[in-house]
Structure formats: C-alpha cells, structure tokens
Symmetry: C2
Subunit: 451 residues, 2 copies
C-alpha cells in the first residue's frame, strides 16, 4: 500500500542508490585526473599524423585494457598531412618589434624570404568581408576582433569566423597575407592556433594568429596613423596528397542484456601540437574513461553496453567522427544516447537534453539527482551533443549536453598553455561523478530516448 | 591666537594643499600610463647593447624635453655584450617532449649539436649545494624549487639564488648543463630569464630556465623513476671583450632656491629582451617622469631640484647606478632623498623610510596625507631605496621605499608577458599621485633627511 502511494518512477530506487554510490566512488577516486596526468606526461601533444598521435592511440588502447574494458579496438581514420614548420613575425616599420605568432592550421607558407607588406586593420570579419574587391592588393589583412569571455563560451562563435574564413576572404580582396588577433580570452604572449574552414575553398595565402598582447601592440601602432609594415616568414606546408593514418579508439563495457545497444561517451584523442592537450581534450578522454571504469567495477554490467569513443582527427574538422559515422551508420539506431566532453576545466552547471518528448521524464529524474550538485536542467530540448557527437546527434542520436563553466577555457585553448597544471582535480572528480551517474542510469534503464 | 594653538608642522598648510592638488592632477591625468604606452609601443624591449636600448635612450631624452624638463642629459655607461642566441630544449627519453626554456643571462652556449644527458633533480639550491663533489659528472643538474607568491615579493629571494649561483655550483660538481624551474609565480608556458651572479665566478656550463608548466612535466617524468634524458641546444654567447655603450638618462626640474640639492626619482630604462619592458621597468620610468611633469606644471619650481634618473644596464647587475655613483660621488651629499619604482603593476600599500631620527617627523606628516589612500607607514626606518637606488642608499642617501602589492609581479617578470596590457591604468594614476606628492613635499621643504 505504501509503495503504490508513490509516483511510479523511471529509475528504481535501487538504481538511484547505485547512481549515488557511483557518485561517491568518482568523488573519492580522482581517476580521471590521474589518467590525464599519465596522458599528458607520457604522451604529450597529439596532432594528427605526428608521432605523438600514434603514441596517444597506443596509450589509450593499453590504458583501456589495463582498466578492464570488455573490448578495446581501433577504427582507422585517414587524413592528409599538414606541416606547421617555423614562423617568424615582426613589425618592420615604423616601430620594429618582434611579434609572437602561430600559423593557422592548414595554412600555406610564405616564400623562403618571407613576405613584407603594409598592414590593413579590420575591426572584425564582417568589416573585412565588406572591403571592396581588389582593395587589399599587395597588403596584409589584419582582423583585430577580440573574443569576449563568457561562461558558456558564446564569445567563440563571433571570434572564430575570422579564423575559419579570414585568409580566404582576404585573398579574394587581393591580400598577400592574413593575420588576426588570436581567438582567446587571455593576455598571454602565446598565440592560439586552430583550423581554417575549407568548405568554401582553401586559402592560398599564409595565415597566422598573433597573441593578444601582440595584437594590442600592433593595433596601437596602427592607431598612430603612419603605415605599419609587417614581415611574415612561415614555412608551413600543406601535403594534400600525403595520407596519414590515425584512429578512433573505442572501449566497450559490454551490456548484460542488450549488448547491441550502447550509450556513447565521446571525446577526442587528437590535440594541437602546441600544449600537451591535457585540457583539449585530455580532460574529455579521461573523464569518459574513468566513468566507464567506475561502472566496470560494479558487481554486474549494466543492461546496455557503453562505448567510450576517443575520436581521432577532431581538430582538423571532425574527421574521425565523420569516418565513424560512415562505418557505423547501419548501427546508428543502436546508439541509445550520447554525451561528449570537449570544453575544458570548469564544473558542470547545466544539463541540456536532446531527446524524445516521453524520454524527458527520464531526463527529469536524472536532473533531480544532479540538482543538489548545483546542476540545472535546461528548458530547451535540442541538444545534439558536443563536438564530435554533434554529427551523431544531427544524424538522429539522442544526446545530453553537460555545460561546464567555460570562463577559463579560451585562456588556454590551442596554445602552448594547454598543459596539465591547468586541470583542476576537484572539478575532474565532480564532472566524472556526473558522467558516471548519467551513463549508468542510461545504460541500466530501458528508456528509449528517441521516443 | 587661534593659529598659535596648532601644533607647528614641518610642511605648511599651503604646501599640503598643493600636495593634494598634485594628487588630483595625477589622478586625472593618467600621464604615466600614456607615456608607458608610448615607450612600449614605439620602442619595445631594451636589453643593454641592443638597438632597442639605444632607441629607448633617444625616446627618453626626446620625451623629457617635450615634457619641459629644465635640463635633460645622458651619462654614458659601458658594459660588455651578451648574446642570447637561440634555444631548443627537449626531453629525449623515456617520454620525448619539447620543452619551453630560456637562457639565463650571461650563459655560455652548448656545442652546436647540443648536449644530451641524464637529468638529476634537486628540490632547491641548498640540495644542489649539498650534492657531493663529482656526483654530477656528465649530468644536467635541475633545481625544481617553486617560487611562492607573496604580496611583498618575499618569495623571490629563496627562489632566485638558484638562478644566481645554480650553474656555477652544478659545474663544480661536474655537471655539463644546468636547468631550473623559472623564478616566477605564474603557470604560463613562458620561461623567465634573468641574470646570474658573477661575484663568485662565471659558470662555464650552459644555464636555462624552464617555464613552470614544463618544470611540472619534467618533474612528473622524473618521479616515475626511470632515467630522464634531456637535450639542450643553446647558441648564447658571452662577448666579454665587446664593450657596448648605454646611458643613464637624467631629467632635471631645477630648484628655485637651492638647485644644487636634489630629490632623486629612480627607475631603470633597460629591460630584458623578452617582453617589451612595459612593466619592468617601464612603469617606473613613466611614473617618475609623470611625477616630475606634474610638478613642472605648478606656477613655480620647488625650492630644491628634482632629478629623474633612468638608469641603464640595471638588469645585468646595477651597472648603470654603479657608474653613476662613481661619477657623482662628490655630490652624494646633495642627494637629499630618493625613491625608486621597480616593482610592477600593483598599488602602493606601505611606505618605509630610511632617514635620520629627526626627519621622521616630516615622514610622519607625509604619511598622514597618504593614510586616507590606504598607505601605511612602516614602523621600520631602514629603507635604502629599491634596485638602483639601493646603492645610493647604502652610500648614505636617505630613501623612502613605497611598497606596491607585488602579488602579480612575478607572473610577468622577465618573460615575454611583460607587455603593456598588464599595466593597470588606475594603479598608475594612484602610484603617480603618491610619487608626485612625496617628491614635491621633499623638494619644497628644507628638511634635512639625514638628520
Ligand atoms: Zn576539442
Ligand atoms: Zn580544440
Ligand atoms: Zn627591474
Ligand atoms: Zn628586471
């Protein structure tokens, strides 16, 4: 009689109790932090096609096996090679100064002796786009837009467009080179690299980012009114015909009842070559591995399988997940729900689902468990999943987006500063706890998140 | 009758009123900030013997003239040249990783192909000193002591000894190279340079500092127990017979009554070659210039003269002030009192005098004007003056040390990050106000600060 008085729930009291035990386990273990220390110390940077990338794959396979995953395998991913080379940047007049710069991913190089030209400054990408055709003939175009710091990282979009299409646009107006203020919120003299978009064509002029302090110096010079000349020497090189092999690394916790259905935890194993990728996306790699490990340590496997997928070649345009999707399209319906971590060092403060209307009841019950941890349930229900998983989300896979405080993320993003000392051990425990609870509830339940 | 009831004061009510007017002027003007923007944009880094150093001298002379100083001149300073060259550092085994390093000032280079050896870690300089003779034969010594962050910069002393004498000591034990954790409180992947002490001899092995994140990585590797090998390629070079010329730049506000007596405002014009020296010591250069300018703008000159001395070659061992002292020793008694700024971006919170017992009354009256600004009067009376001025203080010149909050100073100190964006315009106004008030009261009064 007492029992029937309670509202029926999706997740049983026993399941919730186990979820809370898993929370305690994660909060005590600190496993993700430990794994990330290992990855960033023993492997370091993992840009696609480099020895570090291959070493990272070995590390991940060995570590997943050591953690006791039921199955561990790799799925080959191919891409073309890009060579960063060296870079030298300087203002040559009227106030000669060395500048800290970094090549944008995919950039061509300059001639060996470099290019030297007058700089034309634009306050943002739209202003560059509005420049008349031919108006940049023989010049170096410079977009000085400064990214805004926001908790949800929403300053990134308005800033990153200048990285994506800046060089291509500048070239169309006649420019011989393209420089931009780094897409970053810090004031460190470390420039931020990152990919250029190639869906509208490949820029044939060299492209580089200046650190924020250097952009300040350059803009201060330009403001004085005299022509400012800039020299860029960059030996980066596209090797569009040189195929390099990398991989998606997959570790499975095999479900005890419907092993053919799986909850997906995503992250990317590749990184840029600057920094050690401890943050982007070492944190995602190790939080998801740790979450699975805590579930592996339960007395029995959950009903459904869990797949921890460490995608390859994310930084160069979600290449790994695209090839995953091609290979696994037939199984897409068995991707029950997914969540990816690719957003740095902060603590989760919000959970946004992207599920069927009926499945929202299950999400609400999960959210009740997270609420005491300070995690809100987003009113929207349009999540597709972060980064790699967004492509699976768009292809129909239900997803949850756990939003961490991203205020600091773009201080380190794609710079030399992406190192393990930036990783907060307490936030790692907290975020691992949430991923573990979510994953276990989704894998143990029979909820159809598509409905 | 009413007037005689008041305690007689050292500084008249009128003088104090003028001091408060000067405060308002400085707080409104923002002149130091403007000057520092000019110095760091139009000149940039100013390491002794480099073109930037010569340009800085030109800039300072021209700017002092433009500001209307009554006299502006330079006094030649000579030093020997040191070439930084290039540096490449990497761990070669068991976990190969590129390291961010910077040569310590005065370091010799490695052979062209570099040196490669096992690293031996010491937790601090004392531990290195305690290593048995010959025990480091063929090794690279590594001191991993981490500087502590303190408001008064007192973490610097215990850390900097490893920079001063580390290489020399390591060499004595047989080491072939010396590396150390940067003397810095930040977590940026920018290593901190700085001079080595040469009073006990010149180290014959190459010496470099790793950034804090790199030192973390290296120590994490070493902790694993396997031998860690390190490769250092460094083309720095001592040119001990190549004399370079620099200068102390002096600007005078000529006193209307006893022009042969002067209040000294010190700072140093040279900087390291990394960063733009906007902080170290562009802030000192421009605060002292601005303080004098505000006094120049009064209806009449103060009784005594004011000398703004921008010392040269400070970073390489207080060379400029040593030569100033030689040249001006006969006039030492006419240095009424002095104050130097060489401690970064914070606000002044304490004033410590170093004056005769009777003159403490004047200091107390000054302190009463600063008290509402949150500046305490230090109970000690042993100030010698900061940096350059400390040598004049030791030679008998009275001094005041204004202590700013130094919590952030060693985040940027001697790194690429010493750029103008770190300079806080409000703190610049505040500190300039205090320097202006102090300087004017000392120059307008007849107080003998030696008594
Ligand atoms: Zn990422
Ligand atoms: Zn990334
Ligand atoms: Zn200094
Ligand atoms: Zn210095």
């Amino acid at each position: 009689a007492e029992e029937s008085a309670e509202t029926p729930t999706i997740f049983s009291a026993e399941m919730k109790a186990t979820a809370l035990e898993l929370k305690d386990t994660a909060m005590e273990a600190g496993l993700a932090y430990e794994l990330d220390e290992s990855l960033s110390t023993e492997v370091g940077p993992r840009r696609v096609g480099t020895p570090g990338d291959r070493l990272g794959i070995k590390w991940a396979v060995a570590k997943m096996k050591a953690l006791g995953f039921d199955k561990v395998w790799t799925e080959e991913v191919t891409h073309v090679y890009w060579e960063r080379g060296e870079i030298e940047a300087e203002v040559t007049g009227p106030y000669p100064q060395r500048m800290t710069a970094i090549a944008l991913g995919g950039s061509v190089g300059t001639p060996k002796k470099g290019i030297e030209a007058e700089v034309v400054e634009f306050e943002n990408f739209a202003a560059l786009e509005a420049a008349p055709e031919g108006s940049l003939k023989g010049k170096i175009a410079y977009v000085s837009y400064r990214m805004e710091r926001k908790i949800d990282g929403s300053g990134y979009g308005p800033a990153v467009i200048a990285r994506g299409y800046g060089a291509l646009t500048a070239e169309q107006k006649g420019a011989v080179g393209y420089i931009m203020r780094s897409v970053g919120t810090d004031n460190n003299r470390l420039a931020h690299t990152g990919g250029q978009r190639e869906d509208k064509g490949v820029a044939g002029i060299p492209a580089a980012a200046l650190s924020n302090p250097d952009a300040d110096i350059l803009s201060n010079m330009i403001r004085r009114g005299q022509p400012v000349t800039f020299k860029l020497k960059q030996s980066s090189k596209r090797h569009d015909k040189k195929v390099v092999k990398t991989a998606n690394v997959i570790g499975e916790v095999t479900g005890r009842e419907t092993p053919e259905d799986y909850v997906i935890l995503g992250s990317h194993l590749d990184s840029w070559d600057v920094g050690t990728g401890a943050v982007d996306d070492g944190i995602g790699v190790t939080i998801t591995m740790a979450a699975a490990k805590h579930i592996l340590d339960l007395p029995q496997r959950p009903k459904r399988s869990i797949r921890v997928v460490l995608f390859g070649a994310e930084e160069v345009g979600l290449v790994g997940v695209k090839q995953y999707l091609e290979k696994n399209r037939a199984e897409l319906d068995h991707h029950v729900i997914g969540a990816e971590w690719d957003f740095g060092v902060g603590r989760i403060y919000d959970m946004k689902p992207g599920v069927g209307p009926q499945a929202l009841n299950a999400i609400r019950e999960m959210a009740e468990l997270f609420a005491p941890m300070g995690v809100s349930l987003n009113a929207a229900n349009d999540a597709k999943g972060d980064s790699d998983l967004s492509l699976l989300g768009e292809a129909g896979m239900p997803a949850v987006e756990f939003a961490p405080d991203g205020s600091l993320y773009f201080d380190y993003h794609h710079t030399d500063n992406d190192t393990f000392d930036k990783v907060d051990p307490e936030a790692m425990k907290f975020n691992t706890a949430i991923y573990t609870m979510f994953t276990w509830l989704a894998a143990e339940s029979g909820v159809d998140f598509r409905k």
